[in-house]
Amino acid sequence: MTDRRPDVDAYLREHGNRYTPDALRAALIDAGHDPAAVDAAMAEWRARQTATTGERSRFRRFNWLFHAVVLAAVVALVAITSRDNIMRGVWPIVAILLAVVLLIGVAVSGLIGGRLLLPRAGLAWALAVPLASALLIGGTCYAITGGFGVGNSPAPNGTATLHLEQPGQIDVSGPAFCRAAEAGSDYSIHADQMSGNASATVGLDAHAGAPDLFISISSGRAGSSQFSVGPRSTATIAAGSGPSQGHVDFDSLEGVGENGEPSAETAAGTFTWTCE
């Protein structure tokens, strides 16, 4: 049993939220206070900072649930940040799952803590702040880009192949994203995971029958090279090509250097796609 020290209590009340327990304890003991009395006062101060004893007991009862909620959130978040092929096409499902998990977390916290741990105003803030932020950020993006492309699944809906004769013999293929414009005959094809004797990314924008083509090739030892349509290039979309299938023949695509300036390298070959 230790004596109550009102001066120690007052000191902890004044500085406890700003300084670390170790620093305060050391200062009190240096000032000549009994270590046991200091520890008791600090334990009491900490208890006042958190829930009451009854609430802590209820919290302990639901401890496993809290850990399950945290674990579910961790797994969902690892899925979000994981390798691309895990998440392809399932992003909306994970987002909904995560939202549900967070709501369960809020609800469980509210049930256990009641008004003392999570006051009604706090609960409202906890829900309103993310919602308002999402609306603000989402609205701004919508205004800037003219839409999110809602309804366009990020899952690939086709396959593409790239055959290069220059700057070297390269044959790669992989999944492709094919997208037709909402109006007119424009479309775009994007393939960013093509592999074979190198890895490559190809972006094709067909606007009024004219192709805007970008190719990026990486092979471990040779490093990476980028090519795009320039004034000396020829790129022709084959007759009958469209967002569902087609091919482009190109020659003298201009190399793009590290700083975006043209390089001496050129590319020639064909790009073919087939989509649903």
């Binding site: 001066d7 939220n17 200062a27 900072q49 961790v74 702040v129 990020p154 970008f214």
Partner: protein, 271 residues
């Protein structure tokens, strides 16, 4: 390079993901242990932790997303593509998590600084996570003739989209990071809070990591974006500047002098 650790029926266990999960788990366990030890674990902390995880995940995907925005627009892909396929960055994860904690605490009216409870947990989580990066994503570095420089097989190099140093020995930048985080963890775990103000040990660690990472970027081989600096370096400049300003203000105001407590009153008698 070990991209896949195991295939269990339909489930593929990717090295990077497993170590990310292990890092998260170890960090959270350490964090909760510290909170429990100090008796400050309550339901609001769980919500704050969830907010931190969500903010960290979003921040990791978004902070350098500008690097691919042009490609995404050009390909006509939805903006959500950035979240699901964009580049990932630990710096973004730390910044997003920190911001989420700040907002969540404001929303919940939680006033006690919890930064020091993360101070040992974050370097532990990052050290473990970086082991996954090292095993699955090559050492990632510029060419080097130092004795500890590493080489990779042509097969492993060919599987990696960008590796300017793969033609010979290169800096094992991932090992440098593992060393930094492991050292920071050992220091904080054994010595406790390094500064007397609550939360500032975490900020000191973040500042040290910001400076360290800025330097490591010079030997990491990431693509130069502007002014001769890589994307992470450009992001680190403002983030590190904010922390420098914070510590300058703290030092100028004498915040690290712990207030002198009242002396115990004499109760009479001598011993």
């Amino acid at each position: 390079m070990v991209t896949v650790l195991a295939e269990l029926g339909p489930i593929t266990v990717y090295t990077h993901d497993l170590f990310t999960l292990l890092g998260f788990g170890a960090g959270l366990a350490l964090y909760y242990r510290a909170l429990r030890r100090d008796g400050v674990l309550d339901s609001r902390i769980v919500l704050i932790s969830l907010a931190a995880l969500l903010g960290g995940a979003l921040g990791a995907r978004l902070i350098t997303s500008w690097e691919i925005l042009d490609d995404v627009n050009q390909a006509g892909l939805p903006l959500t593509y950035v979240l699901t396929h964009g580049p990932r960055s630990i710096i973004g994860g730390l910044a997003g998590g920190y911001l989420a904690i700040f907002l969540a605490k404001r929303a919940l009216g939680y006033t006690l600084s919890t930064g020091d409870y993360y101070a040992a947990a974050i370097p532990l989580a990052l050290a473990i996570g970086r082991v996954g990066c090292f095993l699955s994503e090559l050492p990632l570095g510029t060419p080097s003739s130092l004795p500890w420089a590493m080489t990779v097989s042509p097969e492993a190099a060919a599987a990696f989209p960008r590796c300017p140093g793969c033609s010979g020995p290169m800096h094992p930048s991932m090992l440098y990071e593992i060393g930094f985080h492991a050292g920071a963890f050992a220091l904080i775990a054994t010595r406790g809070p390094l500064l007397p103000v609550r939360g500032d040990t975490l900020k000191l660690y973040l500042l040290a990591y910001g400076i360290f990472r800025f330097g490591v970027e010079f030997v990491r081989g990431n693509e130069v974006q502007a002014l001769g600096l890589t994307g992470p370096q450009l992001v680190l400049i403002p983030l590190t500047a904010v922390l420098v300003v914070h510590f300058v203000r703290r030092l100028a105001s004498g915040a690290y002098r712990v207030p002198t407590p009242p002396r115990p009153a004499l109760t009479g008698g001598t011993s």
